[in-house]
């Protein structure tokens, strides 16, 4: 067998084909990959944190205008999207568990359902954006937000300029979140192809695990975006 002699020349001992040479064992390689993803997520937290900070300052200054603008967003769609993302987080942990316990069928189904739920989220988001375009709530020359009452203040109307700041933040924050979802869908499509080829085993499933970390992080960002953008002053 010429192949095995060749392999024997390069490798002193038998090891998993996915184990890279600069790691001493699979556990160390997994921990390094996982830590790398966590450090990336820490930078992502600061990235989104800057936008949340800008949001909080303007919300503090223009609370009434933000409340009026927030009321114009479709709360039912936002709540549905929250539930969709929570379901996708469940299918992601099921995928990781299936990869670790060599359940190929469950792994493929979980990854496929995750992708479908991600697409559902983006579809609902698209309908929401479409409504905003129809209502002229997109910041820019055709922006219009006249005679929208401020919740809880009789006879007062929201300042369109301040409402425009709310919608700018709304589009930037949900837009960047949607971009993260699109990247996540790319990652999960790749994971599905790899899983289809049978690359993941109980010994080697790090890509599923750290892809899952990314997906859960994007879910956490939405968990904060939903109450902050959709639920300002809904009770009045």
């Amino acid at each position: 067998m010429p192949d095995s002699t060749l392999v024997g020349l390069h490798h002193e001992e038998e090891h998993h084909p996915e184990l890279l040479h600069h790691f001493s064992d699979a556990e160390q390689q997994r921990d390094a990959s996982s830590l790398g993803m966590w450090v990336f997520l820490a930078t992502e937290l600061m990235f989104f944190g800057g936008m949340f900070c800008a949001y909080l300052i303007y919300r503090h200054w223009y609370f009434g205008d933000f409340g009026a603008a927030s009321k114009s967003i479709n709360m039912a769609m936002g709540a549905t999207n929250t539930a969709v993302l929570i379901c996708s987080s469940l299918t992601v942990v099921l995928a990781v568990w299936a990869a670790q316990t060599a359940r190929r069928g469950l792994l493929l189904i979980s990854l496929a359902v995750t992708i479908l739920l991600g697409l559902t989220f983006l579809g609902i988001k698209g309908v929401e954006y479409r409504d905003k375009f129809i209502e002229h709530h997109v910041p820019g020359p055709s922006f219009s937000f006249a005679h929208e009452p401020i919740p809880g203040r009789e006879g007062e109307y929201a300042n369109p300029q301040h409402a425009q700041i709310f919608f700018s933040l709304y589009f930037v924050m949900t837009g960047l979140h949607a971009l993260h979802m699109i990247i996540g869908l790319g990652i999960f499509t790749w994971l599905f192809c790899m899983a289809w080829k049978g690359r993941f085993t109980p010994e080697y499933n790090t890509p599923v695990e750290i892809g899952g970390l990314y997906w859960h992080f994007v879910d956490i960002v939405w968990i904060y975006l939903f109450p902050l953008l959709y639920l300002i002053d809904r009770h009045r």
Partner: protein, 97 residues
């Protein structure tokens, strides 16, 4: 990654999943109540509980995670709190503006 315990983690995953859905329903319900100045703190508290559940159990920070991973998580949250906490303690205490 080896499983932290020999028993199946599935009951835990489904319990967290149900808790997250209940939390979402609770947020929407709480937003329809007039809690005076406490609407925003209640919404953020529920969101933080949900985010913590996702991080601890779905992202496995609780089990099977290295000390180094926990250090990164705590450091990231610390610096985020520094950013939001110091900025807002400035803007929220400006009676003259």
């Amino acid at each position: 990654m080896s499983a932290p315990s020999k028993s199946s983690p599935l009951p835990l995953y489904f319990a967290v999943f149900i808790a997250l859905l209940v939390g979402t329903g609770l947020t929407v319900f709480a937003a329809t109540l007039d809690l005076g100045p406490f609407n925003a703190p209640v919404a953020l508290l529920i969101a933080t509980i949900k985010a913590t559940l996702v991080a601890l159990f779905f992202m496995h920070v609780w089990h099977a995670s290295e000390k180094l991973t926990k250090l990164v998580v705590i450091a990231a949250i610390f610096f985020l709190m520094l950013l939001l906490g110091l900025t807002m303690s400035d803007y929220a205490t400006r009676p003259w503006s």
